[in-house]
């Protein structure tokens, strides 16, 4: 499986994560080390929206001569991910059958993933497990670096645990890494970060019973990991008794789906029955007991009507 590589071909490391996690700090440490070893380095990222919880990535390329600042898809030698769903977003960019996959298994679930208001709905977050991924990459490490760092006393040192793993895949000596890390982390956190780095290296050296690597001779077969939904469909009916409604507006203000309003007569009415999830907040909060929520599972209703 070994592929001869020419001197000129740069080494490509892709660092990914979520805004605020320190993707740029991690890639700066690497880029600095490469630079200090006399390599040409290009480190490319996009600032701006990045800080506000979006996905962030940074390309680091080093070698004798580096032209493009970005890494073409399928040419990533090491993917270093600070968060699990971000690792999955980029995993197909790894050089098939050759690259290394390193990821923290921690989940940062974006608010966007918790938006389905249907009963029974699961968060729209990645369901792929680390085994499913590790078994199909040439070399893979998936570990709960965040917990390791928390146990050392500083969750933010999770990045340095991952740097420890990364260091085992590149040529630079341990001292060089420790020196660079000490310069880049806040002075008060140098000790904990160096410990985190050691733990990362130690983890890489341990045998984790990684699943047998899959041989890719016959071409890759995509792994399909489904995302099941467990939505239950309800038939919801809102009974609003206008005679009892005194126009206090409480249900209108508190409805999480914003589907109630006061009509011309200042009586509460349902504006958008499709949005109503039957959560019963209005029923519970109405001081005059003017609202009753009836909820029948779709299946039961069909049976009753059938």
């Amino acid at each position: 499986m070994d592929k001869k590589i020419t001197h000129k071909e740069p080494v490509n490391v892709l660092v990914v994560g979520v805004g605020g996690q320190g993707v740029i700090m991690v890639s700066k440490v690497l880029a600095t080390i490469c630079q200090e070893h006399g390599y040409q380095v290009k480190q490319s990222e996009v600032h701006g929206m990045a800080k506000r919880g979006g996905g962030v990535f940074s390309h680091v390329r080093f070698g004798e001569q580096v032209y493009s600042p970005t890494i073409p898809k399928g040419s990533v030698d090491v993917l270093l991910a600070l968060e699990w769903a971000e690792a999955l977003r980029w995993v197909n960019h790894i050089r098939p059958g050759e690259g290394t996959f390193i990821s923290d298994t921690q989940h940062i679930v974006p608010p966007f993933a918790c938006r389905n208001r249907k009963r029974g709905a699961e968060a729209g977050y990645a369901r792929e497990t680390s085994d499913q991924i590790i078994s199909r990459v040439n070399k893979g490490f998936a570990l709960d670096a965040t917990t390791m760092a928390r146990e050392l006393g500083n969750e933010r040192a999770a990045n340095t645990v991952l740097l420890g793993l990364l260091s085992t895949t590149l040529e630079f000596s341990e001292d060089v890494w420790c020196d660079a890390i000490s310069r880049f982390v806040p002075p008060k956190t140098v000790d904990v970060n160096l410990q985190a780095f050691e733990q990362g290296r130690a983890w890489a050296a341990m045998d984790h019973g990684t699943p047998e690597p899959v041989v890719h001779n016959d071409g890759p077969t995509p792994v399909v990991v489904g995302r099941e939904e467990h939505e239950m469909s309800d038939f919801v009916q809102l009974d609003i008794n206008p005679a009892w409604c005194k126009s206090c507006d409480i249900c209108v203000k508190m409805c999480p789906e914003r589907c109630l309003k006061l009509d011309d007569q200042l009586k509460a009415v349902l504006t958008d029955p499709d949005r109503c999830t039957g959560c019963r907040i209005c029923e519970w909060l109405c001081p005059d007991l003017a609202i009753t929520v009836h909820r029948t599972p779709e299946a039961a209703r069909a049976a009753a009507q059938g």
């Binding site: 499986m1 070994d2 590589i5 001197h7 071909e9 740069p10 080494v11 805004g19 880029a31 630079q35 006399g38 390599y39 040409q40 380095v41 290009k42 480190q43 490319s44 990222e45 996009v46 600032h47 929206m49 506000r52 919880g53 979006g54 080093f62 004798e64 032209y67 600042p69 030698d77 090491v78 999955l88 977003r89 050089r95 098939p96 059958g97 050759e98 974006p110 608010p111 966007f112 993933a113 918790c114 938006r115 208001r117 009963r119 968060a123 729209g124 199909r136 070399k139 590149l170 890719h216 890759p220 995509p222 792994v223 990991v225 508190m254 999480p256 999830t277 959560c279 907040i281 909060l285």
Partner: protein
């Protein structure tokens, strides 16, 4: 074992270089070129340039944030009139704002060299459009230089000043997001002190009235020709002779992609892409079997070649939209037949990526403004800043967003249209208000529009990373200065109803907004709380959800706070929620909407 990084890549001999981001290199280039005055208004991806200029000694160089891009360019122009080298920096859309000054300035020319760095944003990473500044340069007949990496970003700055002074013209140095934000090695030099030129007492040149301008226009046309001629032989234009079956003409960051993908082709690299050196291009075209032009965005080079009847292809293989990449350049060359078609690499995994759009921060003070606006069902004319993120669910309370400062005048027009369906509210950030919001506020008062303006004062330019402005009382270099008072400004232009409210007090926000809307005429509600991210990260004690009380009603999810997500517990078929203590800043907005009092300070829960 697969490819091991250890065996790859050979080192280059000990060259004394420093890795700099494109933006830092541009700043260093300005300092080395002896620039005395630099002014800018922040805007991604250009912001770090002036921040970086401000790290050089005060004695060498003045570095200041201006109120907007036109002001920044006029300031630079003033310094140039006085005979010193000056710099103005902006993002691509900033040049639209500064364009009125530019279009006259190009007639006047310069005394001290004047360079405008404009950063384009192909791919629209963080902008409202992806206009191509090269077209603007052509329109203004101002030469444009396009560095392709940080090393050139630095060295082109001196070249730009030489060009500016030699040909009596402002010069645009065009960067793009990718170049601005890529760090690569740069050879550092020393600062050249440039002697001040005497003020040029010459009204025919410096005072643009019709009779003077008519004469200057002919100078401009002459200048265009002369610069093109200069670029014929100048080292900015580089002919890399190699395989002649394909000749590639390219500029900017695209050059790197071309070298990566088609390393053996002959390349004509244009360091200056307007005006173009016709003879050199003809010679190049004659020396190769076919010419392919690789340029990001518009066919600026290609169209000129068409006018000259030089056979070349470009946009039929490369898109006019978005950012180029090695992948896209490879695809383009394959389409052109310059590279053999290769079987695409099949994805090993079939993964549906988790959408992760940017969101307002946990505890962002803008949140409550849009929560209450949604409650009152207003027609909301929005503006540009972090708060534009409130245009999407769950806040979804912005109806329009055009350009900086548009909100207030858009609201005036909405009110004047005679449609009285909804209360009309303009929302505008503090920096945007100063940039372009004051003239429309004057207009609203003058023309008696019935609108409410919500001024979102988070004490910083947050979107671009937390810069200072006239309302923060601090300069770019961190010195104390006069702090503009927003209430005073509003009253001074004639607004009769002005009130300031704590953004974290949802009840007060709601009540005050209702009063502001009821007021007939222009009312200004100032929503006041510092940004939690910049200039200082604010972190208060976190809140927590008492799971037993949570009815999974999802009310707090409507805040859109990234610290709140679903827990593994369920109630009545829905997920209960949990708060991530490490990121919650304790703004206490979510408990204000929780109907079951389930959100409490961490230590009490």
């Amino acid at each position: 074992m697969g490819r091991n990084a250890t065996t790859a890549a050979k080192k280059i001999a000990n060259v004394e270089t420093k890795p700099l981001m494109g933006n830092e290199a541009l700043a260093r280039g300005a300092w080395e070129a002896g620039v005395r005055v630099a002014a800018a208004y922040p805007g991604t991806p250009s912001t770090e340039i002036l921040e970086s200029v401000s790290t050089f000694p005060k004695e060498d160089i003045v570095a200041q944030w201006s109120t907007n891009e036109k002001v920044a360019l006029d300031v630079a122009m003033g310094a140039s009139f006085e005979g010193v080298r000056s710099l103005s920096v902006m993002k691509h859309v900033g040049l639209n704002v500064a364009s009125d000054a530019l279009m006259s300035m190009t007639y006047i020319g310069v005394n001290g060299g004047l360079v405008i760095i404009v950063c384009d944003d192909p791919g629209i990473h963080s902008s409202q459009n992806e206009q191509d500044t090269r077209l603007f340069a052509r329109f203004a007949m101002v030469p444009v230089l396009e560095p392709s990496d940080a090393e050139e970003a630095l060295s082109y700055m001196s070249a730009a000043y030489d060009l500016s002074e030699k040909f009596d013209t402002p010069v645009i140095v065009r960067s793009t997001t990718r170049l601005s934000h890529t760090r690569s090695p740069v050879t550092l030099g020393e600062r050249t002190e440039v002697a001040r030129r005497d003020f040029d007492d010459n009204p025919q040149k410096n005072v643009m009235i019709p009779s003077h301008a008519r004469i200057r226009h002919s100078t401009l046309i002459e200048r265009e020709k002369n610069i093109a001629e200069y670029l014929e032989t100048n080292e900015l234009t580089r002919w890399e002779k190699a395989d002649t079956s394909v000749g590639v003409i390219t500029s900017s960051i695209s050059y790197g992609y071309v070298k990566e993908v088609l390393p053996n082709a002959s390349v004509l690299k244009l360091g200056g892409s307007y005006p173009l050196p016709e003879k050199k291009i003809r010679d190049f075209a004659d020396s190769v079997d076919r010419v392919i032009i690789v340029e990001e965005l518009e066919p600026a080079i290609e169209n000129q070649l068409k006018i000259w009847n030089i056979k070349a292809q470009g946009k039929e293989f490369f898109s006019r939209m978005g950012e180029l990449s090695p992948e896209l350049v490879r695809d383009g060359f394959i389409k052109a037949g310059a590279l053999p078609a290769e079987a695409g690499i099949a994805d090993v995994f079939e993964i549906e990526p988790v959408p992760r759009p940017p969101v307002l921060c946990a505890g962002c003070p803008h949140t409550s403004s849009y929560m209450v606006l949604r409650q009152v069902e207003a027609r909301v004319a929005g503006d540009i800043g972090c708060y534009t993120l409130a245009a999407v669910e769950p806040l979804r309370a912005i109806d329009t967003c055009v350009s900086m400062g548009s909100s207030i005048a858009n609201a005036v027009g909405m009110a004047k249209s005679g449609v009285e369906e909804k209360p009309i509210v303009a929302t505008i950030g503090d920096s945007t208000f100063l940039h372009a919001g004051i003239p429309p506020l004057i207009d609203a008062v003058y023309n008696e529009a019935n609108i409410t303006v919500m001024l979102l004062d988070n004490h910083t330019v947050a979107m671009t990373g937390g810069q200072d402005h006239a309302g923060t009382g601090k300069t770019l270099r961190g010195d104390e200065t006069h702090r503009l008072n927003f209430e005073d400004v509003c009253r001074a232009v004639g607004v009769k109803w002005v009130q300031t409210v704590d953004s974290y007090d949802l009840g007060a926000m709601y009540k005050t907004l209702r009063e502001a809307i009821d007021f007939k005429g222009v009312s200004v509600l100032i929503s006041d709380r510092p940004c939690v991210l910049d200039p200082v990260k604010i972190k208060g004690p976190a809140l927590a959800v008492i799971a037993d009380n949570c009815t999974a009603c999802q009310s707090c999810m409507n805040v859109g706070c990234p610290s709140i997500s679903w827990s593994d517990e369920w109630f009545d078929g829905r997920h209960k929620v949990k708060i991530d203590t490490s990121t919650c800043v304790g703004c206490a907005l979510c408990p204000q909407v929780c109907p079951s009092d389930a959100i409490q300070p961490l230590n009490r829960s």
